[in-house]
Symmetry: C2
Subunit: 353 residues, 2 copies
């Protein structure tokens, strides 16, 4: 793919302006998404229907001048393919009917054959590669092993992560066994996504930030690296860039910098300029997503300018090496007109700065 500013930044080439895309850009804040989702019946049926998943992936691309597309799916399709029974409740989010409780449950997990078990994702990717404009790259993704294990042990969202932390502190061997199994499934899944056509892969370590520095290294970081290595070994002929995002990882940029990925996502609590001082990797972020729900155009434009200027000052006067994004997924309350204002402001200011 040529003429993609997003891919240019990831491969450390010079760019004419700062590319932007938004985590969860195909989502509930768009009326057309809500229509398609209603047509699909449930969130999970939408994930599993390649035509409709393709449609919702394309919706934000049609509306906004985004520089990248991310396949519509959910991180929990991997544990589901491993045999856990996934369902979604209104208001409470995803749940597993049969969370992992002991070593027998780990033994019973299925080996994922992504070509078969997650064939619907691969169909979505192939559809998208046909339908996306040829300058818009497609991002594939997976949850990190730690984050998936959180859901698999807790059975859903959690406040204090007491079940998985019981394993961190009392059953570390068992947890490593589980994380190892998940890592293989995730790596094979991402390899399959790359073979199916994605241009970039991203690992979402959404709950890495609930750990301590030492337990993050032991239970999240090493498995992120294991996946990155396994992908490189499986596909030595491909050179697909990779992005790792740990929410709350601003305190561990030194650790994250050791990963063999190309870019690091950072949330809104961490200064882009501080982050620039700690790593040479491409940085992706870091606008507070709430802005798109509550601010007016002037505030959005001023905030964009301040983020870009701060980055430029910390990066020897250049905007290279930065992909604009939110610090977390876009909220259902975001206003589409605010998203348009944001995307245009990033392009306009970055062309001028």
């Amino acid at each position: 793919m040529k003429n993609s500013n997003f891919l240019n930044v990831l491969s450390k080439n010079n760019t004419t302006y700062t590319p932007i895309w938004l985590m969860r850009q195909a989502g509930r804040y768009l009326p057309e998404y809500r229509n398609t989702r209603e047509k699909a019946g449930s969130f999970l049926s939408l994930c599993k229907n390649p035509e409709l998943a393709t449609e919702v992936t394309l919706q934000p691309i049609r509306r906004f001048q985004l520089d990248a597309s991310i396949m519509f799916s959910d991180i929990l399709v991997v544990p589901e393919a491993m045999g856990l029974d996934l369902y979604f409740t209104d208001g409470e989010g995803p749940k597993f009917a049969n969370p992992i409780k002991n070593s027998l449950d780990i033994d019973m997990l299925k080996t994922v054959i992504p070509e078969i078990d997650l064939a619907y994702v691969m169909s979505t990717i192939r559809n998208l590669k046909q339908e996306l404009p040829n300058n818009i790259p497609l991002i594939g993704f997976s949850g990190s092993p730690w984050t998936l294990a959180c859901y698999m042990l807790e059975g859903g969202a959690s406040k204090n992560y007491e079940k998985i932390k019981a394993w961190v502190y009392s059953e570390p061997k068992l947890l490593h066994l589980l994380l190892d199994k998940i890592s293989i499934a995730v790596a094979d899944y991402l390899v399959c996504q790359i073979k199916s056509g994605v241009d970039t892969i991203m690992l979402f370590d959404s709950w890495g930030g609930v750990l301590t520095p030492a337990t993050f290294k032991e239970f999240s970081l090493q498995y992120l690296e294991k996946i990155l290595q396994r992908i490189k070994l499986s596909l030595p002929e491909y050179n697909v860039p990779s992005i790792v995002f740990t929410k709350g990882g601003g305190v561990w940029l030194d650790q994250l910098n050791t990963l063999s990925c190309d870019a690091l996502g950072i949330d809104w609590t961490c200064d882009l300029s501080t982050a620039r001082g700690k790593t040479n990797k491409v940085l992706q972020g870091n606008l507070d997503p709430v802005i798109l729900s509550v601010a007016d155009f002037n505030t959005i434009r001023a905030t964009v300018k301040s983020i870009l200027t701060k980055y430029q000052d910390a990066n020897n006067g250049s905007l290279d090496g930065h992909i604009f994004n939110l610090g977390h997924g876009i909220l259902p309350t975001a206003k589409p007109e605010n998203v348009e204002c944001l995307v245009d402001a990033v392009h306009e200011y970055s062309l001028h700065l």
Copy 2:
């Protein structure tokens, strides 16, 4: 007060061992607390009953060799004294029946006269100063203006803080007006606590970590400093040490270091040794509270040793300047026997190291 290792550390004197206390140490994990709370009727009646509040404050002091006591109360008694109608729901936590919606609501907030409006807190403090062993200092506290404003605008706990962030990004002047009013109430409240006998004050900035670096500085940090200054001006003859704790503040230690407080609390995501490198202030923390719910004695002891050793290595071989604590409040699921193991391990290892 003499012979308090806790106060010695806060005033940067040498100590023989590392002092320890636990945020929310008077709490639901103790059966005797649950009994007293049942006697009181509700959480709020317990806060407002000086005899019972004194009793629950003393309970952990009787059980464990803790080095400091913290008065039993709740940060939301200040907004309640300002006129908001506070109630507690099971499972959902605190709520305000009449959250702040506009400038009129701010105008209607009452000026707090802590001697009268929060007289029950002052009675608790005076009781405690009589009943506590004379080597156990008493910590008074308040919520930070930002954290209290979060509750006052959101009406309770929040996931995305959309209501207060709407003010951050669209009504900053109104929010400053509110934060200013809260700051005065908090400062006067803490001054009154000091006059009533507390030996140390602590500001809990529990939700400061949901901001960006720039908005943290503007909407939380400056009001923390304003309070610290107002206390010093009101009571030039007192020299009561102060601790500020921002949950998630590990990314902003440079900012927090500018405060004129004596100690900074840090949560479990931030390395004590990294923190030691960024500030000369006393550091308080930073064990993951979940450990007390899920780990065995050996793991607790090993973790204590590792935290103390890490600190010592970063502090030129000395354990001075560190108060052991959790990185957040103790959980209701914590096991009392684990708390005992923790407290004893901190004392034992720090004497030997």
